[in-house]
Amino acid sequence: MISDNTKQSAAILSIGGLKLIFPQSDIISVDVVADAISTENSNPLIAAVLNKPEGELPVYAFSGELQLQSSLTDESRFCVCIKRHDVYYSLACDGVEVIQLDSNIMQELMPFIMKTDNSPVLKLMLYKQDVVLVVDALSVNKYLQSVENNDV
């Protein structure tokens, strides 16, 4: 069990029964999905784009099994914009919950026997009796890149 007495904020993204948690510092904005423009049929790995001052931001949509979808689902409500250093993208999700992490919330490193090369999951977290997958901007970006490169 990993304990950290320093309270940190984090955001849980609900995606088709799956829960991903990002450090709050990786999230720069949350847009409603209505702001996204569908890109269906142009790039099967990108579900939509958001128009941002910096240009078009790709919106990725995961299934509940963390597989990339070519379009937003009916359950998609938000596009969470994620940024760290030069990495900048958006993930569609059904819901977002911001929580304070503390030592009472159990986190465990991903067991070696469950690891695969391309998985973005860094740890497993137990929150309100739900298993939450701990990721960050860079680990998900690395996974997105590996999918785009057909490594998965």
Partner: protein, 167 residues
Amino acid sequence: MSEISRAWLLEASGGMKFAVAEYEMIEYVIAPELTSVPLTPEYCSSIILWNDHMVPVVNFGILTSEESSHMHSVSVLAYQENPQDDLKYIAISLQQPPAKVSISDDQACDIQQIDNDIWRMLSISCFTEQGIAVPILGIKNLASSEFSHELNEFFNQAGQSTDTLAE
């Protein structure tokens, strides 16, 4: 007079019998509620929530390519990375309930007699039971990065199937 050790004799999904020390098996769970974790190997793709722990479940039925891989029950096993560390847990799917056995030193045999590559890698020793070499599982070996790395190497090789591992 030879020494007698108490152990649990378990039958993993896939049919392989193995043993762990009596104190290493913490609980036998019938019809466990599994939570899938995406992008994990098929042989360890879910966890159980057990006593506030998230415990990975290893399905040797899938790992050794046997047909019988249905998860009827699991045994929760405890191990330590180092003597001063907290206990960690890993579960193995079973196809038969555990049986308590006594093993004498006279039953000890050579690990090379285990007729399965994976179980040879995981064993710390073995004994003969009704003429068959039964591995004694090194639980720490199963949870180790080295074992996972070796499995990944096997599966990443082009054309490598799990059948090869079972032989």
